[in-house]
């Protein structure tokens, strides 16, 4: 059954016609006053409403607010990605470290803790440091105890010997205490 062009009016107004049907309806408008008036009214309504909504002011701060919100999301996303990459790298390092051979070197001190052997590898030996003082210098060098066998701590006192160093009770403090480590 063939549709009367007038029946296409609503579809035309609703933007629902296929191109061929649309052409057919537009041709029909020139000969149908009723449809033409309806279309003219609709166009007038569209124009009115289109101009009317343009009058509605969009809040000035809306776009900057949305932009700021999006930037925050992007930054957060980058942080999350960086943190994930860091965590992945840390996990890789840990896995590699756990799989390293644990044989101690012959001269290295080793400490046994529970069932897991813990290997303490001594750092390479540093060259000995030689401290010389000019002839006649009034100094006293006292060696202090160190928790590490690889570190030697000495205190160098110039002038009078401190009471503690001499093991005496009278007050005598060094003028410039210095610290030297090897």
């Amino acid at each position: 059954m063939k549709t009367s062009p007038c029946q296409l009016l609503d579809d035309y107004l609703d933007h629902d016609l296929e191109p061929a049907e649309r052409t057919r309806f537009v041709a029909h408008l020139s000969e149908c006053l009723s449809c033409r008036q309806a279309v003219e009214e609709h166009e007038r309504l569209k124009t009115l409403l289109g101009e009317a909504v343009d009058l509605e002011r969009v809040p000035e701060n809306l776009i900057p607010q949305i932009e700021a919100g999006l930037q925050l999301r992007r930054r957060r996303r980058r942080w999350i990605a960086a943190a994930a990459a860091l965590a992945a790298a840390a996990a890789t390092i840990l896995m590699v470290a756990r799989n390293l051979p644990r044989t101690p070197e012959p001269d290295s001190p080793a400490v046994q803790t529970g069932t897991e052997p813990l290997v303490v590898v001594a750092p390479p030996t540093a060259d000995p440091v030689r401290i010389t003082f000019p002839p006649g210098a009034n100094v006293l060098v006292v060696r202090e105890q160190s928790e590490s066998p690889n570190i030697t701590i000495v205190r160098v006192y110039s002038g009078q010997l401190p009471a503690q160093a001499r093991g005496q009770s009278r007050e005598a403090t060094p003028s410039i205490p210095e610290r030297s480590e090897q």
Binding site: D10, E41, L48, A52, P59, R73
Partner: protein, 173 residues
């Protein structure tokens, strides 16, 4: 991004106004629309569908808000069809006729805003966004036939609300 926002924020905001009929709610809806669109941007396969996609997010956000809230504002802007509101309330007709000194455009806007929610929304999307019924149906999650029925009612209401703009319209009884 700035260019996209300049183009789309006003459109989304105005559509949000048609949904909620409240500027503050529309502002919140527009903001949340873009944040959600950013999160879900991978889902947009075809840029030509961006408009429907964006407006659909806005409409879904509004629907969620309606579910959560029972505020007077939310009820006034309900998305659903209201049974007794096939055409705008007669008091609105009278009020609109009385404000003859108002400018044409403001009157047209007031008339559209006075329509029942569904009619207001479909009329806006059709007249101001030039959307086809199928697109409007996708945005508002309704059938194309329901869109067409609401459009027809909306036009009828507008003719009655603005009789001097439409000389051929029948007078309101």
């Amino acid at each position: 991004v700035s260019d996209i926002l300049e183009e789309w924020v006003p459109r989304v905001y105005r559509f949000a106004l048609r949904l909620s009929n409240d500027p503050h709610t529309a502002e919140d809806l527009a903001q949340e629309t873009f944040l959600r669109a950013w999160r879900q941007r991978d889902r947009l396969r075809d840029e030509r569908a961006a408009r429907v996609w964006l407006f659909r997010i806005t409409a879904n956000l509004w629907r969620d808000q309606l579910r959560r809230s029972r505020s007077p504002v939310a009820r006034a802007g309900s998305l659903g069809d209201s049974a007794g509101a096939e055409v705008a309330d007669a008091s609105v007709f009278t009020a609109l006729r009385q404000v003859s000194e108002k400018e044409e455009l403001t009157r047209a806007l007031d008339a559209m805003n006075a329509l029942p929610p569904r009619q207001r929304q479909v009329l806006y999307l059709s007249a101001c966004e030039g959307m086809a019924s199928t697109e409007i149906a996708a945005v508002l999650d309704m059938t194309a036939n329901a869109v067409k029925a609401n459009l027809s009612l909306a036009r009828k209401s507008m003719r009655q609300l603005l009789p001097d703009f439409f000389p051929g319209a029948k007078p309101v009884k």
